[in-house]
Symmetry: C2
Subunit: 366 residues, 2 copies
DNA sequence: ATGAAAGCGCTAACAC
DNA sequence: GTGTTAGCGCTTTCAT
């Protein structure tokens, strides 16, 4: 009497079908349809059969928004990354998304581009969209942003570190291990003058990586002059610029470690610009091990940080926060390992070895 | 009397604040709050002031789901890409997202990975999330997927081609122009034996690019033997494999054009593996012009397809479909230009020139 | 086992 | 100009 039930409701997009259309078609109440769709055991099998048939016939798709509204859970997870155009992140996004979808979640992706105001709006958007939790995988984040998120007490995952609150979990990346392996590899090859190109030092993880480098060098009794510590931007352009300045130094390093692979690619390119050939006078080590790394010229020796591990830990940590009965609900920290992958961008320092040995080194042609 | 108004409602996530909390705080009705938030001119400025203050104080964020439910529009746009790990797509995603957000839309991203079942579930998820429209930027799509989408008559954007229906718009990429420029560039350098590594030929755009290549060659009276036409996968691995097979041929091509940049990077890598140096005996041309292209060794000559143009056309086309009063609501096709960007992966064919001229060529050292 | 009805947070008629 | 109220599509008591 009140609403028109014989025709589907008025102002909907054509093609859109609601639970009422199914109920009508199957000759049952909307409650029964709901129960059927949600597979509650209490529905009569025959009835269920009829309902499924009706669903099929009218092409019904439950409206997630409405569901979310009543259930209070949107089944959406936020994923905030630094820069979607840095290949490391798409690789992680892909893993994250696969896992999320497999577990019935949708993913809302956001890229901060290191801009505070973007980050701000991102957070607000995610909150408004009612995501069930957010993974902030940005390798460095502004303090006040954390604050914002923390106020609404909802499940949050950070990388490296975050406030010690009940709803916050953190993924501890073991930078030290991988970077130590890198430094030791270089030292074993005979390098003593090793430079380091960091990420932007306002980012925590950039500092963490640099410190890990410094510590590893110190362990070996190797000195690092200030000029050999240059700040990059986590981009290829930054790598070029940094290497450009390194190259003007009176005492050249024989090897350079980079805070990420993009930087290393920039370094390789700069070296190429200078020598017009495959860089082989200076060894370079990256960080991340993006898929591209192995296809570089020369294939890049790099410290692998598994985006798979990162993604799956993030998802699990998030679910541990969302679903209070999750097995690891109490767990606050998740360890992410790193390890060196040796390829061909590292070699003996030029001229440090007898000619016979040099000839045996795969990457030296002369 | 019915609901508990003095405390915030019961089963909500702590920290979540509803319109009622604001109303209560400001001492007005929820309608006034709604009007204030939506900036309807009819609210008394003083009252509005009070409402904004209350909003601030309680930290109110309108619930998008509820809004979407009543308005029928979710302000979410779907963006389906082939492979999020192919750098071309993140670049486009970023542009798309920037534009979308600037216009008040959220973006739901999906990556098909060329798997039909993934695509299927993607579509279903987007439909359920009630996106206002979806851009299928996959450079090739399965027929039945199109069908699925078309049935629900809602705004859709495709690349290259789509069914001629009122709610469907298509972005026509001018492959011919860029590829012709590439072929002519190569021919001008003296190349006659030019191979082409295509994408997977079940994808329309892969076929389109290959055909454009064939046509351009024919225009110049250049023959393309069947062995010089090899099918790749749009990946670096595919490029390596394809170049690997090309290299075994009795009559080697002197140049190879690739269906995308990732393939070209694979080719460069394979050439490096073979010669252990920067590839310079064989010219290679890519397609897409991803950011990375200019950092390759050597910097990649490639056909640029502007992801910016693609993204903005997609957004505009989508909005033209969503908002019936959009200026270009009637427009069905949007032209996307392509053009050659010459860098250093192309050069004269080896040994085809007098020594003096060779010496003048920047990329040849001998 | 099934239906009626309340209500999730919000917008839009409709009253006043 | 402001408040009251009816839904948007759905889940979930509460009756039956």
């Amino acid at each position: 009497m009140k609403t028109n039930k014989s025709k589907s409701s008025k102002r909907r997009r054509p093609g859109s079908v609601s639970i009422r259309d199914v109920a009508e078609r199957a000759g049952v109440s909307i409650a029964t349809v709901s129960r059927t769709v949600n597979r509650l055991p209490s529905v009569d099998p025959d009835l269920a059969q009829r309902v499924w048939k009706a669903i099929e016939e009218v092409g019904y798709l439950p409206n997630t928004q409405a569901r979310a509204l009543v259930s209070g859970r949107s089944h959406m997870l936020g994923l905030i990354v630094s820069e979607i155009t840095n290949p490391f992140f798409p690789e992680m996004v892909q893993e994250f998304e696969n896992l999320a979808v497999a577990q019935g979640y949708e993913v809302l992706i956001g890229s901060t581009n290191y801009e505070p105001e973007r980050t701000e709006s991102l957070i607000r958007r995610m909150l408004q969209r009612n995501v069930d939790g957010v993974a902030v995988m940005t390798f460095g984040i502004e303090e006040d942003l954390v604050q914002k998120l923390v106020e609404r007490e909802f499940p949050l995952v950070f990388i490296d570190q975050g406030p010690d609150l009940p709803n916050i979990r953190v993924l501890k990346v073991n930078y030290a291990e991988g970077i130590r392996q890198g430094v030791q590899h270089l030292a074993a090859l005979g390098h003593r003058e090793i430079a380091f190109i960091s990420g932007p030092l306002r980012l925590r993880s950039a500092v963490a990586r640099r410190d890990a480098f410094l510590k590893s060098m110190a362990e070996l009794g190797l000195k690092v002059p200030a000029e050999h510590l240059v700040e990059g931007t986590h981009t290829m352009e930054g790598g070029m610029a940094a290497m450009g300045s390194l190259v003007t130094l009176s005492k050249l390093p024989t090897a350079v470690m980079c805070s990420n692979d993009m930087t290393a690619i920039g370094v390789l390119h700069e070296l190429y610009r200078t020598t017009n050939g495959v860089p082989q006078d200076i060894s370079v080590v990256g960080f991340d091990d993006i898929h591209l790394a192995q296809f570089m010229l020369p294939p890049l020796t790099t410290v692998q940080m598994s985006c798979k591990a990162l993604a799956s830990a993030a998802i699990e940590a998030l679910r541990a926060g969302v679903e209070q009965d999750h097995p690891k609900a109490g767990c606050k920290e998740w360890e992410i390992p790193t390890q060196l992958v040796v390829r061909q961008s590292t070699s003996f320092p030029r001229g440090s070895l007898p000619a016979t040995l040099m000839a045996a080194t795969p990457d030296h042609k002369n």
